[in-house]
Amino acid sequence: MTTAFLNTDALPYCKGCGHDLIARNTTKALDKLNYDPLDVIMVTDIGCHGIIDKCLNTHTVHGLHGRSVALGAGISFSNPDPNKKIVVFIGDGGTTIGLQHIMEAARLNLNMTVVVHNNYLYGMTGGQTSGLTPYGFNTTTSAEGNPFSGYDLCALTHAAGAAYTGRIMGIGDISDKLAEVISVKGFSLIEVLEICPSYGVKLNPRRKLQEIVEKSGKPLGDWTREREPFEAHQGRKADDLLSRLPIVKKMFNSYLKKPLSLVVSGSAGEGVQLAAGLISKAALISGLHVTQKGSYPVTVGVGFSTAEINLSNEHIHFHGINVPDMAIITSADGLAHNRKKIEAMKEGMLIIDSSLNAPQTGAKVIQHDFRALGARNAAIFSVFFFALKTGIISTEAIFKVIENEGKADKLPLAKIKEALVSV
């Protein structure tokens, strides 16, 4: 007999398989709830239970082993019309490999129902032990009984935040129970217990489901949680990522003759990236082409902080810097990180804090006490110093950038100006 949901009476399972009962009762439950088959999206996992697709009149989505809950979650995130229903079929094996997906869907309380076909083993691949196999249960890979007990899936799912979690035995008419579970708003998961006749029954002769369930220590029952179903709170969005970028005009002159590569380096927390950004932005309003990238240890708050800058009158293609034309070093961390590069410099300029010993280098060495205005200001100070010494950008251009960005009162500009007088 076919039904509104099933296009055949011959379901594709071995004789006596509990999956048959679950499929019939799930579709019966959907029927009872008056769902139109095309308002139901059935997502099935890889495993014996997953070969049901072809028998269903619903939409069917058949993905990977263990991932069906995440795949169904993706559909749920699309926020379909509330009269749509997403039902996921998954086994104990799929649950084991994809447990994270269940926890996540429960945590977010996504609108969907998961029906776990727990036959205590991997049926499709030949009856191996899964993460839900109970202690003492025989499988093809634990002939003397599983030495471990299985996960308490319901306890985990409930703890993760599911609106509904339940465990029942796959015996008799369970369609009313399934209808109740399917009607839950938010995430509902029901673990249906069964024994696979082909492996489970054979390897555990004379053991009844009832007894196995009792010994497993995982109680039957319902666990509910009053919770609103998922809503995708998205916060404020930009409607264009480019429209707020400051468009600049050339306002200052630069005395740059040929392309310049520059390394600015100091210690984390001492404003190196900010200072390097000032050079780049000042160069931009001085009509130059610029590239800038940062380099720092993975733990961004300690150790060195380096910025690499290229300046040119022409479009810059290659932006790598092997040996820089100039280096600005404001701390021992910065020096250590760039020592080799500085030693390789055959010409150019090294601007370095006077507390440091300049390495052997072909570059012209200029020392200055950048840390005099405090460690936090060392890099900023060095940038003004660089401008004054080289004329590549003007100090006015840097002040303009600071003013444009409204950072004037956050930086000790008066002190810097005063210190620059003596340079």
Binding site: H62, G63, S76, S78, E104, Q234, L245, Q292, K293
Partner: protein, 374 residues
């Protein structure tokens, strides 16, 4: 560009260009999992995409994307090799299901976790072979900020029009670098028009029936026609089959779809220098060094042509045709095994081919010049 051009000059990083371009083309969801050097893309994606979701891992990322795509969205994500490795089975799934999505793969130094903050070009071999069966997964490689704009939109367009996951291949050196850029040079991006199965059509809709290689799409969230999406071997209806003729024809179609249709999506730059006997071939981040090298060689009076392949997988024959017309070919890519040439020629490269490689360092224009002049 003259210094005082009237353009819209600003400082911008490539991550921003990529995300904005994809959004304009029609991408509407960003699913993220943090990984250096793709984090800026994640940040911008969350600011710009109508839907942003923080996945708990990269397998979930791809599964959520597939679910969204089955419901009619155009999701994107950004990752680097470690995350990409986790995605591969699910990318195969989306490929088999024929779901549109874009994965931005930011290359960093491997193997494994390697060096998160060091650029590289080591993932091409993987991308060429990451679909079981050897079927081609479209891969576009950006080699400039301009590409980050145009190719990103192209990746979205390809994903939608060919119903397939697409990889946009970039590198740490591109997406984490800020440059002065004239926004006025960016061409307009038209949103990709989505075509659906005509709901008024009589008869039964079959999810994988294709008149011109690409099946008509319908989301699983409509209720006019039954949709069957399947990652296992399936027939036109989307029903699982072992290996019957109809199912094999369907799998064959997946291969043909990309190979034949991608001819409309081939992107490359060819700077042909008349009378040149030497050709430099370079893609991705190294193409910038190649451009400088060519310019420098020109200034020294040496004529050299330049080929920048951008559609990397499947590689069009035109690359070989161009390469075959030169006496000397120098291929530069930031790995130590010349993955581009291996993809084209296997283990025996033509004798007139030279290779400039590098490990953990950007290839410099000077290195390319030396090999050209060697």
């Amino acid at each position: 560009m003259p210094n005082n051009s009237k353009g819209k000059r600003t400082l911008v990083d490539a991550s921003r260009l990529i995300i904005e371009s994809m959004a304009r083309a029609g991408a509407d969801a960003f699913i993220g999992y943090p990984i250096t050097p793709a984090n800026l893309l994640y940040q911008y994606g969350s600011q710009r995409m109508p839907l942003m979701l923080a996945a708990p891992d990269e397998i979930t990322t791809l599964q959520w994307m597939a679910g969204l795509a089955a419901a009619g969205k155009v999701p994107i994500t950004a990752t680097s090799f470690p995350g990409y490795a986790l995605m591969i089975e699910s990318i195969n799934m989306a490929y088999m299901m024929e779901l549109p999505m874009v994965i931005i793969l930011v290359q960093r130094l491997g193997p494994a976790t390697g060096t998160a903050t060091c650029g590289a070009q080591g993932d091409l071999s993987l991308l060429r072979g990451n679909i079981s069966g050897g079927h081609p997964l479209p891969v576009f490689s950006t080699s400039s900020f301009a590409d980050c704009w145009t190719l990103s939109a192209k990746a979205v367009k390809t994903a939608i029009e060919l119903r397939t996951p697409v990889v946009l291949l970039t590198s740490k050196e591109e997406v984490m670098t800020t440059k002065s850029f004239d926004l006025a040079t960016l061409p307009e991006i038209e949103p990709v028009e989505r075509k659906y199965y005509d709901l008024k059509c009589d008869g039964k809709y079959k999810s994988y029936k294709a008149t011109d290689l690409v099946p008509d799409f319908l989301p699983v969230t409509q209720s006019n026609h039954q949709v069957r999406i399947n990652a296992s071997t399936h027939d036109k209806e989307g029903i699982l089959q072992h290996s019957n003729d109809e199912a094999m024809a369907n799998t064959q179609r997946l291969e043909d779809k990309i190979r034949q249709k991608l001819y409309d999506y081939i992107e490359y730059e060819y700077h042909e220098s008349k009378e040149a006997e030497k050709l430099v071939v370079s893609f991705g981040i190294t193409a910038a060094a190649a451009k400088d090298a060519i310019k420098e060689l020109e200034q020294q009076g040496e004529k050299v042509s330049l080929l920048i392949p951008k559609t990397l997988v499947p590689a069009p024959e035109v690359y070989i045709e161009i390469m075959e017309s030169y006496k000397t070919v120098v291929v530069a890519e930031e790995n130590i095994n010349n993955q581009f040439s291996e993809m084209l020629y296997g283990i025996r490269k033509p004798e007139n081919h030279r290779f400039v490689g590098s490990l953990g360092k950007m290839i410099t224009p000077q290195q390319i010049i030396e090999e050209v002049q060697a």
